[in-house]
Symmetry: C2
Subunit: 313 residues, 2 copies
């Protein structure tokens, strides 16, 4: 230490106003010269704050987590949002309980993506004091909230668009129905059909899982029906893509609307419902930081979606 005490250096770095102009300058000079970098572990230890946000990403057992492009976009928004507040992201490796990992690292907050409603850790987490924001999962707790897109309205927009084009036999290939988005998109589909007095035969509701393979398989099932639909609302772009492929192979035509507006949607000219995935992540990050730093209330955000008309419907 060239000149002053460690306490003063600490003040220069954290509360510069407490230090006289001159000494401050002198200290900063040495800080630069030595390329001094504060040690995060030591700081975390004494402050009991890590400036870390834990991220949990799961998309079910069959599809390795993180693989779905949706989460990637959300992650980008999240990273930017928390990054601007000096937080870094801690990506937990699957395996050990993420609750334990979060506690061990003293993360200041947690973002959950693709976590199952019945996850063993989830309940234990919600009653804790650590701030949590879930994406696409309607958790609630004293310090736990969520952000998601307006899936019901999105589905209604899709069906309304199809109906507006004159379709009366509109089927749907759903996402995983035990997820909130999957259930909500089905609900919106049903609501809009009902509102318009259009028929809804049970065999027009095909249960998929958000992934292309289910789109392919369920569309074939629809085509094989005695009275096939003339239009399909797919609960994800991936499903729509699989369906489109099945359609091409069968040399059949059907109107299709997807959900997400993934990058490939534009490429294959898929009409779809756009959800702003990056904004979802950003909202999650902002809400989390607000909970951490300003003790804000847990969020319960529903972000708007919009219809993007292209060529498939």
């Amino acid at each position: 230490m060239s000149g002053v005490s460690v306490a003063t250096v600490s003040r220069v770095l954290n509360e510069p106003s407490l230090v006289s102009e001159t000494t401050r300058a002198r200290v900063l000079e040495h800080v630069r010269a030595l390329d001094y970098i504060p040690n995060a572990a030591a700081r975390t230890l004494v402050r009991r704050r890590s400036q870390l946000v834990g991220v949990v990403v799961n998309t079910g057992v069959e599809h390795p987590d993180l693989k779905h492009p949706f989460f990637q976009d959300v992650l980008v928004g999240l990273k930017d949002a928390v990054g601007s507040h000096e937080y870094d992201l801690l990506l937990f490796s699957t395996g050990e309980s993420f609750l334990r990992r979060a506690l061990r690292h003293q993360v200041d907050g947690l973002v959950l993506m693709g976590v199952d409603r019945n996850d063993a850790d989830l309940h234990a987490l919600l009653v804790r004091e650590v701030p949590v924001v879930a994406v696409d999962l309607d958790v609630a707790g004293p310090r736990a909230g969520y952000v998601m897109s307006d899936n019901v309205t999105g589905a209604r927009l899709a069906v309304a668009h199809l109906a507006g084009r004159g379709h009366e036999r509109i089927a749907t290939i759903t996402g995983l129905l035990n997820t909130r988005p999957g259930a909500d998109r089905l609900r919106g589909y049903e609501q809009e059909l009902a509102a318009r007095g259009l028929p809804l035969p049970p065999e027009y509701v095909r249960e998929g899982d958000f992934y292309p393979a289910s789109g392919d398989a369920e569309l074939r099932a629809l085509l094989a029906l005695p009275e096939p639909p003339t239009a399909v609302f797919a609960a994800s772009d991936d499903i729509a893509l699989g369906a489109l492929q099945a359609l091409a192979e069968a040399r059949r035509e059907l109107a299709i609307v997807g959900f997400d507006d993934a990058e490939l949607a534009a490429i294959v000219s898929l009409t779809t419902i756009r959800q702003d995935k990056t904004a979802l992540g950003a909202a999650a990050g902002a809400a989390l930081v607000a909970m951490i730093e300003d003790d804000a209330a847990p969020p319960a955000l529903v972000l708007p979606v919009e219809l993007v008309v292209r060529e498939t419907a």
Copy 2:
């Protein structure tokens, strides 16, 4: 503390063999009862090891980092590989120098993805003692190595396939040529053409940037040539997709081979060169852990690729 000293508890958790059977059992019982979880910060402080691997992801200014699906798949492999060795991933938010962030958090190692060869931090990083593994960037240093796919061979396979189908006028839409994969794929293309004595007019080399828009634009340019090619090697599936779209709009036919085998490649039946992205991440993680724990030599891995024949060529 119900019974023994803190030192003993520490031993039970870290070197159980040093503790007698009976006390060990007693301590573990209390550990469970209290749901005791060791504090990572304190441990990092004294051990000077954080069990953290820093991850840097950049894909250039125009396209926000992390957006490219390629990195996502790599990340999955990386997470699994380091996770099985008790490491978690620290995803640095862009902005502050990742070198400083790495030092501050005392990460045990660093994985670089999409980092520019001329990045300001890169040089400073390579001369440090912290282990580094870069993906798709040929860095070298006492503790720095890399992993990448065999891009040259991949490009040659693509061109060879096209030539085998009887094509003699084969063009290419390249990736970013200041990246190693971009340059290597162009090199492979040139090599294979030369080896077969096929012509290589300069206007057949169109410079793209790995993204769909460049595929679309450059394919149009190729079609406008006085003597258009009959086949195109696209340096990425994204480029191929853009090109396919341009082709469809122009109502023209051309053989196309892509590179990556992205998820959508199968969907649009794109013939492509498959690189195992997850394996790339896993290799990076394994090599990094080996450097950290066994003081292994820095890797210089080139992973094999394979041709996947589908319908576009």
